[in-house]
């Protein structure tokens, strides 16, 4: 992508007394992309968003929006608008006046305000609800009003603070798609803060993952899922089996490792982690494991084990397999193609894995060296 | 947010405006001159000493105490039951009842006083301490109800259910669980309603007849310039008593809101 950067965060930092909420954050956001800041609560993602919006001043570093340094520019003068977690719908105004709120600050003619409000409400599928009172809205409607109220301002960047967390599951999934469509239609940059990995993955072009105030990895969702850069991210996003391994050979881009269960394998080296010592940890996604009653053929590593638990999820089935020499059972998940559960607890089974599915997570932290 | 605001300065000046006038009373009560004006002539405790010899004053004080105590008991017991009903139960007319008991707060004093005088005379209650007590209970009830409501608000109803579940009777549950937990609220209500009665003037002025309460006594003394220093001394003592009672009430009120943890 060669799109220009709409937002540049240059080494921004936010301290509250001794507490560092965001530390040395560098991030470029491209024009027209849907970007998510993902992380557990308290990781600093909301603080980062609020520094872009102008509700908080960075202790150090610069926020540049559309080429302009935002230092000293208050929130009301920035080309960004926000959808708040609580939606912040003005309770004393009806839907139409809520959406028109910001336009009335700009000296726009009455007729144009009316036209733009109508257009914005139609965009979020609330056409004709101008006169509805703010207190008579459902959760989903409040969210749509909040969206319309921000989008009607035609911001260069729309900021969304956990926009779907107040909705129930079904509505949340529906809104994920609607917001994605809206963003693609309008071509406006969306920056969303969320703690929900599925929400981030379904909606975003790119995801930035934050832990303890640090931005750890920025990637497109499939890359993030397939190549998490360290164990923190690997365990935060999706499910992952963690296994110890020993490095026997270290080439340019590859490692030769031996594992307690899958034998010796050649895997891709993770450039993001330090390769000190011979003890490393590897990760394997449960759905990347083949599980069968007979030893499967054509796999780089196989091992025999015994089923301990079976968990039926509907769309797939999870098996926990106890393997000799491995402390915790290994999880394998199989899509539920034929509406059958093939293995029972106590059954002897084989697991197979391709070396391409094995992720290098660097030095083993969980084991004393 | 951290800019040193004009608001903070304003707030400080406002506090001065609130406190300064009240603080002049004790200040001049120690002034040996008889005129309340600067400069202060000298310091003395004479005005306080002379109070002990005033028999009408002592009688007025006793009257106020009696009225205050009975008012506090009456208002708090009615407030206790009403507040429990408002917090625990949903019933028809609840809103109306809750609004009604708050009414005494907003009726102009002169109207309460004059109308009660007319009523009491009509039904044969002569102006007396009884009449004042009945009137003060009316005025103090909203205070008791709101204090008791906040005490019951913080009271987890499942505690009573647990006591039932463990075999207590209704009465025993009330005595062993409910009462001890809301006790600080009750004490706060007693203190506040006592203070309301102790400081009240207009109603007592109309209803006390020839048994003046302390504020009515003070009113009669204000007119005599010669008595001014003594009135100041008495007023200062009254201020001190009110503030002490309030601080005590506040202490108990806070205990009542923390006690459910």
């Amino acid at each position: 992508m060669t799109a220009k950067n709409i937002i540049e965060l240059q080494g921004i930092e936010k301290r509250f007394g001794k507490f560092v909420a965001v530390s040395n954050l560098d991030l470029n956001l491209r024009e027209g992309e849907f970007f998510s800041l993902l992380g557990p609560s308290g990781c600093g993602k909301t603080t980062a968003l609020r520094m872009i919006a102008g509700f908080q001043e960075p202790t150090a570093g610069r926020v540049i929006i559309d080429g302009q340094d935002m230092d000293g520019i208050p929130a009301n003068a920035r080309p960004t608008n926000m959808v708040f977690q609580s939606y912040a719908i003005f309770p004393h105004l009806n839907v139409g006046n809520n959406v028109a709120y910001g336009l009335r600050n700009r000296g726009i003619s009455k007729s144009e305000i009316e036209a733009r409000v109508t257009e914005a409400l139609e965009m979020v599928e609330l056409g004709g609800l101008q006169a509805r009172g703010a207190t008579e809205l459902s959760g989903g409607q409040r969210q749509r009003v909040a969206l319309a109220r921000a989008l009607v301002m035609r911001p260069k960047v729309l900021l969304l603070d956990e926009p779907l967390s107040a909705l129930d599951k079904k509505l949340r999934e529906q809104m994920q798609f609607e917001m994605r469509h809206l963003q693609q239609e309008l071509g406006i940059t969306f920056v969303m803060v969320t703690h929900d990995q599925y929400e981030a993955m379904t909606m975003s072009d790119r995801i930035g993952v934050m832990f303890d105030g640090r931005l750890v990895q920025v990637d497109e969702p499939p890359t993030l899922y397939a190549k998490p850069c360290n164990k923190e991210i690997a365990s935060f996003i999706g499910e992952m089996n963690f296994l110890p391994a020993q490095v026997n050979g270290d080439k340019d881009k590859g490692l030769t490792i031996s594992t307690p269960c899958f034998g010796t394998m050649e895997i891709e080296k993770n450039p993001n982690v330090e390769q000190t010592g011979r003890e490393i940890e590897i990760g394997i996604r449960p759905e990347q494991l083949e599980i069968a009653a007979e030893e499967p053929e054509g796999y780089d590593g196989t091992v025999q084990g015994k089923i301990r638990d079976v968990a039926f999820y509907g769309e797939n089935v999870h098996y926990h397999v106890q393997v000799d020499g491995v402390e915790r059972p290994i999880a394998a998940s199989v899509p539920n193609y034929f509406h059958t559960v093939d293995h029972r607890p106590g059954d002897a089974v084989w697991l197979g894995v391709q070396s391409a599915s094995v992720i290098d997570l660097g030095q083993n932290q969980s084991k004393p060296q | 947010m951290t800019r040193p605001s004009g608001l903070a300065i304003y707030a400080f000046l406002y506090l001065v405006f609130l406190y300064l006038p009240v603080l002049f009373l004790p200040l001049f009560s120690f002034n040996s001159g008889t005129i309340v004006a600067f400069p202060i002539k000298g310091w003395t405790l004479d005005w306080y000493r002379q109070l002990g010899g005033e028999e009408t004053l002592i009688q007025a004080l006793m009257n106020s105490m009696i009225v205050g105590v009975v008012t506090a008991l009456l208002a708090t017991s009615m407030g206790l039951f009403a507040a429990r009903a408002y917090v625990r139960y949903r019933f028809r007319g609840k809103k109306a009842s809750e609004g009604l008991v708050m009414l005494p707060l907003v009726i102009p004093g002169i109207i309460v006083a004059s109308s009660m005088l007319v009523l009491f005379i009509s039904i044969g209650i002569k102006p007396s301490l009884t009449a004042v007590t009945l009137g003060h209970t009316f005025l103090a009830l909203p205070f008791s109800v709101s204090i008791m409501k906040s005490a019951f608000d913080d009271f987890d109803p499942s505690l009573e259910e647990a006591a039932f579940d463990l075999g207590s009777s209704v009465f025993e549950t009330f005595r062993r669980v409910t009462l001890p937990i809301v006790a600080p609220g009750i004490v706060a209500s007693l203190l506040v309603t006592f203070t309301v009665s102790f400081d009240e003037f207009v109603l007592a002025f109309f209803l006390s007849g020839n048994q003046p309460t302390l504020p009515v006594y003070i009113w009669s003394q204000i007119r005599f310039p010669a008595k001014l220093p003594n009135t100041l001394a008495l007023g200062s003592l009254l201020l001190l008593a009110s503030v002490a009672l309030l601080v005590l009430a506040e202490y108990f009120r806070r205990r009542s809101t923390k006690s459910t943890i």
């Binding site: 509700f55 009301n76 960004t80 608008n81 926000m82 977690q85 609580s86 912040a88 003005f90 004393h92 709120y101 910001g102 301002m153 | 605001s5 903070a8 707030a11 406002y14 506090l15 406190y19 006038p21 009240v22 009373l25 005129i35 309340v36 004006a37 600067f38 009615m78 009403a82 429990r84 009903a85 139960y89 019933f91 609840k94 009604l100 009414l103 005494p104 707060l105 907003v106 102009p108 004093g109 002169i110 109207i111 109308s115 007319v118 009523l119 009509s122 009945l134 009137g135 209970t137 009830l141 400081d199 003037f201 504020p215 003070i218 204000i222 009254l238 201020l239 009110s242 009672l245 309030l246």
Partner: protein, 283 residues
Amino acid sequence: MKSETAKGMTLSAPATLYVGFLVAAPLAILVAYSLWTQTYVSVDRTATLANYREAFTDPLVRHLMIRSILIAAAVTVATVALAYPIAYFIALRAERKTLWLLLITIPFWSSYLLRVFAWKLILGFNGVLNSALLGLGLIEEPLTFLLYNEFAVVLTLAHAWAPFAILPIYVSIQKIDPSLLEAATDLGNGPVQRFLRVTLPLTIPGIIAACLIIFIPTVGDYVTPSLVGGSDGKMIANLIQVQFGAANNWPLGATLSLLAMMSVGFVAILFVLSATGLGRRIR
């Protein structure tokens, strides 16, 4: 087990009946008295509107009634205007809210009579303020406009009612979701616009409550006009008291009480309607 309704009604009955009786019965008797007439020491119980006729034609009554309402209105405006910034400060800026609230309410617990008395001493010709200003050489001779006029009444009552104005406004500001203020900023408001378009309209209920709590009792205030009002500051309550005291004309006193109550109610309703209407027009 008894129903909730039965339990709730039983428990709340003593308080409800007590207040209900002491509101309704005196009112009924006041109405009755207002229709009777007093001839020297005996009361004539033939129903007549004579008292009302007298009240409506007597210029003194009209004058005092209008003055009471105007003074009460002035007190209300002054108190609420002075109190709003404090409530705003405590709700949004102050770090130790409970301490501030306690500080604001403590003076209220001193006797109202004594607080008014204190103002009388401060504002008097030979009073605290004049003697202090003379002593500092700021004035040549005592200021005479301080005591015994409407100004003294308004000042004294604005002081006396302070916590009643601060608390309801504080509660209404406290209830505003902070993200509403952020949303207003985000949509382009500066601090002043944001206050006028969001904070103020959302605190109108608190302002209305504060105004009513102050205005209604003030119209019928007796102590302050008596102590610091002088002849220019007398209010309707003083006249009512005279009827029940020195003049010994209870029927006229009852009539005046009822008329005062009705005027207060009328003005209060008018005020609530216009204030809510005004609030709705802010967009």
